[in-house]
């Protein structure tokens, strides 16, 4: 479904992503784990069009999307939940969700998806008129995910959904990620919380200082000594 071939991304002179290749197949949950500053967020931003690759190709459903503007990529069915949630703080929950469907014109479909999001996240329904800046961190994460779903994506890019959240909330969020996946949305999940990410993923990549250093099924990586030592805190 998504194929990334040998991309290089720079911030000015800084070489942030070095010759990265990866692949996401339809229906999978693929996770990308790595430490701070490894380039996880940079990769997601490149996939969603917020950054442009200098070299290499990104193919999504047989189409070249590398370097295209973000709105074209959203239209083609990729939705990005940015790091740190970034909800529109001075707007209500409902308005946030409506903005997620910004590029869509089918009113009935939007209404249906709004109900669907409220089904997935009952908490958001309770607070639909509340300003989203006043929500708790977990609720904001749910809102950010709901907002991305409103674009009706085939591929959902999630950037650190567990960041700064209590373990119980993280568990809830990960359960919802699995539900969304079962409903037919492919997921690329970027996480520092390797343990949680590997427990729900089908396949995984490990990224270190801008390079992919390991890849395999989630199970293989969970048992790999290197991953255990570096990311799972075991010996």
């Amino acid at each position: 479904m998504l194929q990334v071939n040998n991309i290089d991304v720079f911030y000015g002179n800084i070489h942030a992503l070095k010759n990265i290749s990866l692949e996401v197949n339809e229906g999978e949950i693929v996770t990308l784990i790595g430490a701070n500053g490894a380039g996880k967020t940079t990769l997601l931003k490149t996939l969603s069009g917020l950054l442009k690759p200098k070299q290499g190709t990104i193919t999504y459903k047989m189409q070249q999307i590398g370097g295209k503007p973000a709105q074209a990529i959203v239209k083609s069915g990729i939705s990005h939940v940015p790091e740190g949630r970034r909800v529109f703080a001075n707007m209500s929950v409902e308005e946030n969700l409506e903005l997620g469907a910004f590029l869509r014109k089918d009113r009935d479909g939007i209404k249906k998806d709004l109900d669907h999001v409220f089904e997935l996240f009952p908490r958001l329904k309770e607070r639909r008129k509340q300003l989203s800046g006043t929500l708790s961190g977990g609720e904001q994460q749910m809102l950010a995910m709901g907002r991305a779903i409103m674009a009706r994506p085939n591929l959902l890019l999630l950037d650190e959904p567990s960041m700064g959240l209590a373990p119980l909330i993280v568990q809830q969020i990960f359960e919802i990620i699995q539900t969304i996946n079962k409903e037919g949305t492919t997921i690329l999940l970027v996480e520092q919380n390797a343990h949680m990410a590997l427990s729900i993923a089908d396949r995984a990549y490990v990224i270190e200082t801008g390079k992919i250093v390991l890849s395999g099924t989630a199970k293989e990586l969970q048992e790999s000594e290197e991953v255990k030592a570096a990311y799972l805190g075991g010996v």
Binding site: L50, A70, P82, R86, F88, N90, G100, F102, L103, A151
Partner: protein
């Protein structure tokens, strides 16, 4: 249905104000001094609302608004005084040329953010002013003599159209895109909102109405000089919207009316005028740090009241 109701309500409200003021003018209750003050208020409200769409709605901190006003003023003056065109044609051309100027300035500078954008727009406004200062065709530093043509009717219709267009824009899908940019540009981008496009659109609409306000201004004071459009004028407009509450259209309208009225009354005390004006600003900002209205609109206040009433 709901929207058109609000539209007609607004129009009826505007007509009532117009009829009342017109009656008072006709009966002589308001003399020329007040008529002139009303025109100045209308011009300043237009300037405030046109900057509101750039800063309040889209969150792009531009402090070069007087530059676009200058473009409108000079273009309309050239139309009426040099080319002998009717005033209304001058107003329309002023708006169009100012919008084009907004496009030319906006496309390169709206890539900048925050303080950098502020400095760039300030620079552009000064460039526009200095161009007029050095063109002999429009009188250079001595300025250009312009016939008095702005009437209370012109000014009021200008305000009504400005508010109508900008509030409709804000409530439209495009307006929500702009609000999203103000709230969080990266998230707006990730939602598929073409942020560059909407920033430029808001900037161009703002420039257009600043140009129209400039045209009305030029034909109100008999003479226009480049110094009238320096950065102090830009700051004056900025003060209206900050004091009104960034993001609140009704707030910026009220602040423009309030501050224009104060500044006109204080002309009787030329020595202390600016001191009193500044003290008023400081006091308001101390007690209302988010401006008179915050991000709320007048109708929100009524809504809250109604809700409270029905619960009680």
């Amino acid at each position: 249905m709901k929207k058109s109701k609000a539209f007609w309500g607004y129009l009826a409200f505007a007509l009532v104000i117009y009829a009342v003021v017109q009656g008072m003018l006709a009966s002589g209750m308001l003399d020329l001094y007040y008529q002139n003050m009303l025109i100045t208020i209308c011009i300043n409200v237009m300037l405030a609302v046109s900057l509101h769409i750039v800063i309040g709605v889209t969150g792009q901190f531009s402090i070069g608004h007087a530059g676009f006003m200058a473009v409108g003023a000079y273009i309309s003056a050239i139309c009426t005084m040099k080319l002998g065109l009717p005033f209304i044609v001058g107003i329309i051309l002023a708006g169009i040329v100012a919008a084009v100027a907004g496009l030319l300035v906006g496309v390169p500078s709206l890539r900048l953010k925050g303080d950098y954008l502020a400095i760039a727009t300030l620079g552009f406004a000064e460039i526009i002013r200095i161009v007029f200062l050095n063109v002999d065709y429009v009188g250079g530093a001595a300025g250009m003599v312009v016939n008095h043509a702005t009437t209370w009717t012109y000014a009021f219709v200008g305000v009504v159209i400005t508010i109508m267009v900008i509030s409709n824009f804000t409530n439209s899908r495009h307006g929500r895109g702009c609000l999203a940019i103000r709230e969080d540009e990266i998230a707006a981008d990730a939602m598929g909102i073409n942020t560059t496009y909407y920033k430029v659109v808001a900037f161009v609409i703002g420039s257009l109405f600043a140009g129209v306000a400039g045209a009305l201004y030029a034909h109100n004071f008999y003479i226009i000089q480049p110094t009238a459009f320096n950065f102090l004028k830009s700051f004056e407009i900025l003060i209206y919207i900050v004091l009104g509450g960034l993001g609140s259209l009704s707030g910026s309208v009220m602040a423009a009316i309030f501050l224009t009225a104060i500044s006109q009354y204080l002309q009787a005390f030329p020595e202390t005028r600016m001191i009193i004006y500044s003290v008023v600003l400081i006091i308001v900002m101390l007690y209302r740090p988010t401006g008179l209205m915050g991000t709320k609109e007048l109708k929100d206040l009524f809504k809250v009241k109604n809700r409270g009433g029905s619960e009680a």
